[in-house]
Amino acid sequence: MSLIEIAGLHKSFGSTEVLRGIDLAVASGEVVAIIGRSGSGKSTLLRCINGLESVDAGDITVAGEALGTGEARLRALRLKVGMIFQQFNLFPHKTAGQNVMLARQVVRGSPRAEAEALARRMLDRVGLGAKFDAYPAQLSGGQQQRVAIARALAMEPLALLCDEVTSALDPELVGEVLGVVRELAAEGMTLIMVTHEMAFAREVCDRVVFMHEGRVHEIGPPAEIFAEPRTPELRAFVARGH
């Protein structure tokens, strides 16, 4: 059974229909890349999956439970699906360690000592064990993004949604973040990532989703998608060397 199932998902902003019927199933442990032109609805799809946007029609099921509308159900969903943002969105008034500990304490109710031990483990995991007491402003973009990953991991989600997590980084910092993502994938974490890093998608992902005008236009293993695009839209997209 799939961990995340999306069926007939529609979403409009005002009169513009951004998602026009998305069907997608992601198995546990699968790594899925979402590619597509700007404005094709990639971010909106991710944001619908963890309830940051309300959906107009269709079903989203995570681990067998349907996405509801009430605040309590949304919060239950978000405990299963973590999200990493392009702009990191660390809490600037808290240290790296406190960033990782906070939700653990106030959402999961973990005692302080336990949350701290977990935070140290998670920061170690992303190679930032030494930065526990550093504030986000004292960290490089790549380090901030790794803290954001540790923060999401601390909630022990079943899946992680990554929205262009390296797009805001200087080129020389991209590698360290992708390295962490690659490790997560190797450890069996379920990942859905919107990315412009085609080489990375090809290497790490099990499947690639090409979105076009709010629909899943093509889907398949990276070798097929990049080597034998079937539609002219994907061919043009791949040819442009994204």
């Binding site: 605040e71 919060r75 978000r78 999200m83 943002f85 969105n89 809490f91 906070l102 959402v107 909630m155």
Partner: protein, 216 residues
């Protein structure tokens, strides 16, 4: 007719300025408390409290403080409620300060970016937890300099209460100037005392602003 020496004038003014200080403190503290209540109405999710808070702000920012003082003093008197100038001055200044403080603070809460809300929501935090652990602590830092800055407006605002006969610094100045026939000396000193009260506040506001900017 008595002769007023410079020292007489100065001591009288200084003595009266304690009322200016007390009134400022009362207005600022009371206004702050009221503003805090209004703030939660203004930024909360419930619709009607939000509307009422906005209406409150519109009314008290959209009318002169002087009119509010008159209404508090004479208006309540007309209703048969006997109010002393002190009470009317306090009430009007508290209501007036609250309207400005709540707008300052609301702006600080609004200044916290959408990303902070979304990141904390994505971690499973509810509205109360987001407010308490993520948004308000950051908004508080932003709020300190403009809040201290506004306290200068409160101090200067107390001068208007002289018109309803509250014997603070300005009123004392008027009385002394009439009695001593030395208006220039008297009001020169009055201005100096106001400056001595306000200057440290504005310097403090600027310092805090610089300090909090660096910390970020």
């Amino acid at each position: 007719m008595t002769q007023f020496t410079f020292v007489d004038i100065l001591t009288n003014l200084l003595w009266a300025s304690r009322w200016t200080v007390l009134l400022s403190l009362a207005a600022f503290a009371g206004g702050g408390l009221l503003a805090l209540g209004l703030l939660f109405a203004a930024i909360g999710r419930a619709r009607w409290p939000g509307r009422l808070a906005r209406l409150y702000v519109e009314i008290f920012q959209g009318t002169p403080l002087l009119m509010q003082l008159f209404l508090a003093f004479f208006g309540l008197g007309l209703l048969g409620i006997d109010v002393s100038p002190w009470l009317a001055a306090c009430a009007a200044l508290i209501l007036w300060s609250a309207a400005f403080l709540v707008e300052i603070w609301r702006g600080c809460v609004m200044a916290i970016g959408r990303g902070q809300w979304e990141a904390s929501a994505a971690l499973g935090m509810g509205y109360a937890a987001q407010m308490r652990h993520v948004v308000l602590p950051q908004a508080l830092r932003l709020a300190v300099p403009p809040t201290v800055g506004f306290s200068v407006q409160v101090v200067k605002g107390t001068a208007l209460t002289s018109i309803i006969g509250f014997l603070e610094l300005t009123k004392a100045g008027t009385v002394l100037s009439n009695a001593s026939f030395q208006p220039f000396t008297v009001f020169g000193l009055v201005a100096l005392i106001y400056f001595a009260l306000c200057f440290p506040l504005s310097v403090g506001a600027r310092r805090l602003e610089r300090k909090l900017n660096v910390a970020h």
